[in-house]
Each structure stands twice: as structure tokens, then as C-alpha cells.
């Protein structure tokens, strides 16, 4: 690729990304009332999206090969347990992550 082709490629990647970020706001601008269906999606999507992001983070975990997802499962349980116990975001996240790193280095 020439420098120009590289710049065009990067610009198109940036444009594609920004379309996905700005499109909803451009389509449903404040001037017209947002359709009820879209308002419903705005309330219904977040919980589904957070679930989706958790799975997305674990997408490369294989249950049938490697460590069978055991370190991920244990670290998830530690994160969930700490959060149910203390309700302190940073403690739960740090605890789960340290647990995962220890498992990766010492056990698996």
C-alpha cells in the first residue's frame, strides 16, 4: 500500500466507526418525538447489552480444549462473590483479576 492508500483505509475505518456511533442520534434527533418502539429499545437494550459484553469478553474461552474455561469460571465466581459481599466495584474487579492472573501463572 502507498501512504495515500493507507490514509484512505484508516479514514474509512474511522468513518465506519463514527457512523455506528452517531447514526442513532442523527436519525432520532430531538426535533421529532422518538418513536415508542425506539424508546422501548432504549430501556430494554442495556441489560441485554451488558450480558452481551460479558460473553464477548469470554468469546475465546473454549470448554472442550485448553483449560476448559476453568480459570475464567473461578475468577468469575470470585468477582461475583466479592461484589455480592462488598458491593465495591473496584474491590470486586481487582479481586477477580488478581485471582485470574494467579490462576494463569501458578495453576494453569
Amino acid at each position: 500500500m502507498t501512504i495515500t492508500q493507507q490514509i484512505v483505509t484508516i479514514a474509512l475505518l474511522a468513518l465506519g466507526t463514527m457512523i455506528t456511533r452517531f447514526l442513532p442520534f442523527l436519525v432520532f434527533s430531538g426535533k421529532r418525538p422518538t418513536p415508542a418502539y425506539v424508546q422501548y429499545l432504549g430501556h430494554a437494550l442495556p441489560s441485554a447489552v451488558f450480558a452481551m459484553l460479558v460473553v464477548y469478553c469470554m468469546k475465546n474461552v473454549s470448554l472442550v480444549s485448553g483449560t476448559h474455561g476453568v480459570p475464567e469460571l473461578i475468577a468469575t465466581l470470585v468477582t461475583v462473590g466479592l461484589h455480592l459481599w462488598k458491593r465495591q466495584m473496584l474491590i470486586s474487579i481487582a479481586g477477580g483479576t488478581v485471582c485470574y492472573m494467579l490462576l494463569r501463572h501458578l495453576v494453569f
Binding site: P24, A48, L53, M58
Partner: protein, 231 residues
């Protein structure tokens, strides 16, 4: 007002710093090892600002010129932002010039914090969200630039650190779960994504997952709205 917002926002972004900064560093080092000057990761981090796409972009830049494919790839990989936008339509209303920055910098992590964080009384909502967006953006861009400059000079063992992002999304998911009185939408998200991951590959399951979630939410709208309990 700005200082208070940053003070309130910073603790929420600490896990993102741990995750994004090191990931950015790794990305910069990868670009450097692939033969690119640090200007590339710096500019790509600034203008694309989307981790997974930027990693894919390295391979694209090393292949032959394929503009249409690059553009489509960007739309497909980043399509989940459409969901974030739909969820933020009301919350970004009346934010003036900040609205542009909030949308421009709305990555997975920033959206999740801005949607779910309980903003303390007396802290301006717009400035709080701006602070979260700004801090996360700086973490990623500085990490990518530094990685590109240092390149092969650094070796650190961060194996397993990436779990910090997973843990953050788990915690945010739990907080949202406890806020909702009914959990149908969370379960729809969980089941659709897991099923699609089983059926498709790790590279291709996100678009089917999003379609599946959208279909379920659309067809089950009546019962979900009748049950209520969405926060």
C-alpha cells in the same frame, strides 16, 4: 464543577486504565513490530478509537488496498455501538457541545460506565460523563502512542490482565441486574449471545447475536412491557 466531575469520575475509570492502557500499549508494540512508525497507532487510536477494529486494521494495512472491504469491516465490527446510541438517546439530550465528544468517544467501556454509574448528588451529569469519556480516551491513546514509541524495548508479563475488562463488565451487569426488578431483557441478552457463540465462530457471532437480541426484544415487547420493571 469540572474538578468535582473528574474527581467523581476517576474511580470508575481505574479498571479501564488497567485494561485499556495496557491493551493500548500492546497494540502500539504490535504496530511497531509490524513495521509502522508510532504516528500510525497514535492517529488510529485518536480517530478510530476502537480497540478490536484497530487490531484488525494492522492486518488490513499490511495487505493489498481494499477500501470497500475495510469500510464494511468497520461497520460490522463496530455495529454494537448502534445499541449504545439507542440506549443513550435520552441521556445525551441537551448536552450541547459535549454531546459530540460523548458520542465520538463512546466505546464499550465508556458507554457501560456512563450508562450505569450512580452519579453523586451535586456533580453535573454532563461533566461527569465528559470526564469518563475523556479519561478513557486518554488512557487508550497514550497507551497506543507509548507502545508505538517503545516498541520492542519493553517486555512485561501481563498475561491474564485482560480479565480486568471482563470483571468490569461482570460487575456492571450485576449492578444493572440488581437495579432491574424483572430480568427478561438481561436473560435474553445472555441466552442469545451464548447460543450464537456456540453456533458461530468467535469472529462472527456478534452480528447474529445482535439480530437475535433485537428479534427477541421486538417479538416479546408486549409481555416485557406488561411485566414492567425495566430501570
Amino acid at each position: 464543577m469540572i474538578k468535582e466531575a473528574f474527581k467523581a469520575a476517576f474511580p470508575h475509570t481505574v479498571p479501564v486504565f488497567a485494561g485499556l492502557w495496557f491493551l493500548g500499549l500492546a497494540y502500539g508494540i504490535y504496530m511497531n513490530a509490524s513495521g509502522f512508525s508510532f504516528v500510525y497507532p497514535l492517529l488510529m487510536a485518536m480517530f478510530i478509537y476502537g480497540g478490536s477494529l484497530e487490531f484488525v486494521a494492522v492486518t488490513m494495512l499490511l495487505s493489498s488496498f481494499a477500501p470497500a472491504q475495510a469500510f464494511l469491516m468497520a461497520l460490522v465490527i463496530q455495529a454494537r455501538h448502534l445499541f449504545y446510541g439507542l440506549s443513550m438517546l435520552d441521556r445525551f439530550r441537551g448536552m450541547g457541545w459535549k454531546k459530540f465528544c460523548l458520542i465520538f468517544g463512546m466505546c464499550d467501556e465508556t458507554f457501560s460506565i456512563n450508562y450505569s454509574a450512580k452519579i453523586p448528588d451535586g456533580v453535573d451529569r454532563g461533566w461527569f460523563m465528559f470526564a469518563v469519556t475523556f479519561l478513557n480516551y486518554i488512557y487508550w491513546v497514550s497507551g497506543a502512542a507509548l507502545g508505538g514509541i517503545l516498541g520492542g524495548l519493553v517486555h512485561f508479563d501481563t498475561d491474564g490482565l485482560s480479565f480486568v475488562m471482563t470483571a468490569m463488565f461482570i460487575v456492571i451487569f450485576m449492578d444493572q441486574w440488581m437495579k432491574d426488578r424483572k430480568h427478561w431483557t438481561a436473560l435474553i441478552g445472555l441466552v442469545c449471545t451464548i447460543l450464537c457463540r456456540v453456533v458461530f465462530t468467535a469472529e462472527s457471532f456478534m452480528i447474529p447475536s445482535m439480530i437475535c437480541i433485537l428479534l427477541c426484544l421486538t417479538f416479546l415487547r408486549k409481555p416485557i412491557e406488561r411485566e414492567g420493571g425495566l430501570s
